[in-house]
């Protein structure tokens, strides 16, 4: 990075650190924070959408749909996250390859499962054989988004379903009295009002999602925790910048990062809550009315 970094062993301390903290591995460490935030930015809306679909399915009056929704919500919520994270990429990855294999290589005569091995023809490999590294990273990242969205969508579905039930019955009755259909009442009355009831639950899920991001490493992505462990560990003189075990400092950085992220989002949720409570028949809405009046 800097011109004086050619012989780190002979540098004064501050220059040594300037060089050390700007190595390529450290830049990978810094980038991994961005990756975590990108994952959150993509996963949160996708999981919310999954949650909405799930909640609607649970509410549905068509019983197969409702069963499907209940099955999804209860099964996913009942399985430990970590099991799901190991299961989704393997099952989904092999499932995709299995389908491609049958489409692209219909005359393949060997079994796909040979003892322990899972073998598909090379045209069916996903990502394709010889794909550049970035394609593989995007693929792994997409897997992560799917896995996270499946898990957190189930929690969001449960929260949203509860919130839909929490909208006062009197309001729906009024809507019915005006001659609105079930769908109209849902769109005009329940949807706009349910968020204030859903928000505490959603903010919980968001915080848990933030804290679950270190599971990324299970999916083969090098996240901030991976790099903290890798960089913090003792480095012998085989490395350019030998140092003793510094993991405690690296983990301290992680701790600050995650605290900042959760503290920041807590504030944002506070604002959204204030916005949504306005004019609502809730304790918070009532307080706002009194304060204004």
């Amino acid at each position: 990075m800097f011109a004086f970094c050619t012989d780190p062993a002979s540098l004064p301390q501050w220059q040594w650190f300037a060089c050390y903290l700007t190595t390529a591995t450290h830049f990978a460490f810094y980038r991994s924070f961005l990756m975590v935030m990108l994952l959150l930015a993509i996963t949160a809306p996708v999981a919310l959408a999954m949650g909405l679909v799930g909640a609607l399915a649970v509410r549905s009056r068509i019983w197969p749909v409702s069963w499907l929704g209940k099955g999804y919500v209860n099964i996913v919520r009942g399985v430990p996250d970590i099991v799901f994270f190991m299961f989704v990429p393997i099952a989904l990855g092999q499932g995709i390859e299995w389908v491609f294999h049958h489409i692209q290589c219909p005359d393949w005569d060997q079994p796909i499962r040979q003892g322990n091995d899972f073998i598909v023809c090379r045209e069916a490999k996903v990502p394709p054989v010889g794909a550049p590294a970035w394609v593989r990273n995007v693929y792994a990242f997409a897997m992560a988004v799917v896995a996270f969205s499946l898990v957190f969508g189930a929690f969001a579905a449960n929260t949203l379903h509860g919130a839909m039930q929490a909208v006062p019955r009197a309001q729906i009755e009024t809507a019915e009295a005006y001659g609105m259909t079930r769908g109209q009442a849902f769109r005009r009355i329940i949807m706009p009002q349910m968020w204030v009831y859903a928000l505490p639950g959603l903010s919980n899920i968001w915080q848990i999602l933030i804290k679950a991001t270190p599971l990324l490493f299970l999916l083969g992505l090098q996240d901030a925790v991976y790099w903290a462990r890798e960089l913090g560990g003792q480095k012998t003189s085989l490395y350019t910048y030998p140092h003793p075990d510094w993991r405690v400092w690296y983990f301290l950085v992680l701790l600050c990062f995650y605290l900042l992220l959760t503290w920041g989002s807590e504030r944002v949720f506070g604002r959204i809550n204030a916005r949504l409570s306005r004019g609502q028949a809730t304790a918070a809405g009532e307080r706002m009315r009194r304060a204004a009046g």
Binding site: T23, Q94, Q114, I119, V129, G130, F217, Q234, T236, T240
Partner: protein
């Protein structure tokens, strides 16, 4: 690499796509086990196995890509087809041979050794707490012995366990521990005698991938005979280590 029943039409299609021009082989490694394989400060994967793997691929006319994978899931991910070869300082053992197949060994049996803080009594080998990396030959040895085993997912954590007193000693490949002993300036020392538990280090390949295994074995044998493996061993592990 894989045996495909190539019909004429398929062969033409393949030539047209050009994908077969040079076969791509993906090699999985841990990237945390110097000097076998590790990530240097330039964020490049380097080490004895990286040089060796690249040389094997060059001689075989293959294009090789390196993939970093956790040690604990390195065999399942090979079997699932995420990569085609494991070169990660993996000793050839019977238990592993049930899951995957191995090429001829590219390192002679490595000495294993106990490392502890200076002044530690040798009796801890039989009755103390011994740190090991999980799913290694050494972990198996400690589990079968009389000492209490303490397993960690990465090799680095086993060293920390000894430094902070969580474990009395660490049992690992001597060539891995050597750099720590040397750098510690007398704080860490080897205790007890070295021994040779494994039958050498080889590349792990799926059991169904006979062709690739034969290619690798043939080139490893060639490199053992022409002395080029010994040169690499000396370059990465220094003088005075067992060679072919």
């Amino acid at each position: 690499m894989r045996k495909t029943p190539i019909t004429l039409a398929a062969a033409i299609a393949l030539m047209a796509s050009g994908a077969m021009a040079q076969d791509v082989v993906r090699i999985g490694t841990e990237g945390a086990y110097p000097p076998w394989n590790f990530i240097n400060d330039n964020n490049e994967i380097v080490g004895f196995e990286i040089d060796l793997g690249n040389e094997i691929c060059e001689r075989a006319g293959l294009t090789c890509e390196w993939v970093i994978n956790d040690w604990d899931t390195i065999i399942p991910n090979l079997v699932a087809g995420n990569y085609d070869v494991i070169m990660a300082g993996m000793s050839i053992t019977e238990a592993r041979s049930e899951l995957i197949s191995f090429t001829a060994n590219y390192l002679p049996p490595d000495p294993s050794a106990y490392m502890a803080l200076a002044g530690t009594d040798e009796s801890v080998i039989d009755s103390g707490v011994i740190a090991v990396q999980s799913n290694t030959v050494q972990a198996g040895l400690v589990a079968d012995g009389t000492a209490t085993g303490l397993e960690f997912p990465t090799p680095d954590e086993t060293i920390s366990a000894v430094r902070n007193g969580e474990a009395d000693a660490v049992l690992a490949d001597k060539n891995f521990l050597a750099a720590y002993v040397e750098d510690s300036g007398g704080e860490l020392v080897f205790i007890g005698d070295d021994f040779y538990p494994g039958s050498g280090t080889g590349a792990g390949i799926r059991q169904s991938d006979n062709e690739l295994r034969e290619t690798f074995t043939a080139i490893i044998m060639e490199m053992r005979e022409d002395g080029s493996i010994n040169e690499l061993i000396e370059q990465w592990f220094g003088e005075g280590i067992t060679k072919f």
